[in-house]
Point group: C2
């Protein structure tokens, strides 16, 4: 089963073909920024942004800078996460991580530059109504900051080597994973001219999709083969990481993932054209890697 | 001679009293963000922003969030600059640097969070006309990024241990020092409702002030006593750093600083109420620390 429907695949291809035009040319820090944003990922955030823009009746062309911006924010977070003082990862998607290839100093600066670039892109986007541009950019800033993604990373660091409860694990994942997915969906709905209720629905979809995604990740670490996953399995257990499986057991974790997925799909009820996002939620639940 | 006139001192006091309301409360990463932004600096960027807003006829109260935001960007750059993989500085303004006090991982995240926060603050500012808010925030994003401050840092790293020419030194300082001062002045003029010509004048003032500031810094490293400077003198020479003094000699460097200062003051010619900014340019030229 592929993750994306034909329509979502078209969004993905659009992003792949357009992303680099928003990044600096030339060598030096620009090269590292392009390296960090190079293909290999699912591009789920920009795909969600474009699709939510579309189903709220908007022109996806206008939303492309914002789709590029959220991918820049995601990429910066990976570059900084991989640094020696953080996860100290030499690899990312099977290739050398940015600091392994370009050195720690330049990777740090390239990460900073990617976060900064996200706002350069959004704030100079043309043909977008100023209040919509402000609101969409503010949404990304809020969800990427201390009350969103960075907050989740801090909670994750605080939890290392400790036994935490389900509430803390959920709060941690709300920040680390869900916050940017919420931002992607809400930004798309904002840029698509959605009503406040539609924007709320979009946020709910992203929220539950994000939570489901992480539960499935934890499950796959236990149930998948290394071949399917493309990385060692059982690493969570080896690292004594707090996961949904370690806290709930496999069966309850599977039920939780199904419940979150159902809630994501329920957020689509009022949309006539939500079939692709509905299929995406199912595909993420049943993925094997 | 004090640096600030009574009016600029009032801007400084306003910023000191209002800055923390834009930063997260509580411990953890919020505490580090507040620590990194705590007093001790000249707050020259927010002071410039508020004064340019005022002399263009604007309400400085509305510009306060933007003044706080540019100080967040400056503070993030200091936190990341001090990190072990960058300058590896244990001290900042006589106190432990952020990573020396809170550890490298949390300092990295607090720096990221401060850059992000700058945009959260600006994009949620109330009572500012949306196109002015967008333009001011875009100005900060552009000048802080790869074509501004980060670009200057990259050039600086590239130049380490090399003999560089005056052109490269100037380009490096345009990014490292002048870019944020230009942003501060232009943002103030934008928020104050200045004409495009006034915004250009503001940018010119910030540009020449920034260049003059750096030349004077290089001169003081040679001419000041350690007591005046509050840090060891002659460190540029010891570190074989490329400076305006090493490239031009002391006399020509002094002439250059005077010339840049004159150009900064010339940008004020069309402003009836530019006396405070004029005095600031003179005070920065003749400072002894």
């Amino acid at each position: 089963m592929t993750l994306y429907t034909e329509r979502l695949q078209q969004h993905l291809e659009l992003i792949e073909s357009r992303l680099t035009e928003f990044l600096p040319k030339g060598d030096g820090v620009g090269e590292i920024m392009r390296y960090a944003c190079a293909g290999g990922g699912k591009r789920i955030r920009p795909v969600l942004l474009l699709e939510w823009c579309r189903i709220c009746g908007g022109n996806t062309e206008k939303a492309i800078p914002f789709a590029a911006a959220i991918e820049c924010v995601h990429s910066y977070s990976l570059v900084h996460d991989d640094l020696p003082c953080m996860d100290n990862s030499p690899l990312r998607r099977g290739k050398p991580s940015a600091h392994a290839k370009y050195g720690e100093t330049m990777a740090l600066l390239a990460g900073d530059a990617l976060l900064n670039r996200a706002f350069e892109i959004m704030l100079s986007a043309e043909n977008v109504e100023p209040t919509a541009a402000l609101r969409a950019a503010a949404q990304l800033a809020d969800n990427a900051g201390v009350h969103g993604m960075i907050g989740g990373q801090v909670l994750d660091l605080d939890s290392e080597g400790k036994q935490i409860g389900l509430d803390t694990l959920k709060r941690l994942q709300e920040g680390k994973t869900a916050a940017l997915l919420v931002a992607a969906c809400r930004m798309g709905a904002i840029l698509g001219g959605g009503t406040n209720e539609q924007i709320e629905n979009a946020g709910q979809y992203g929220y539950y999709l994000g939570l489901a995604f992480q539960v499935v990740d934890d499950i796959l670490d236990v149930t998948a083969t290394a071949e399917e996953l493309g990385k060692p399995v059982g690493s969570d257990d080896t690292n004594e990481k707090n996961t949904y499986v370690s806290l709930l057991g496999l069966e309850q974790a599977q039920a939780l993932a199904a419940s979150y997925t159902a809630q994501a799909k329920a957020s689509l009820e009022r949309f006539a054209d939500g079939a692709d996002l509905c299929q995406l939620a199912d595909a993420l639940l049943t993925r094997t890697h």
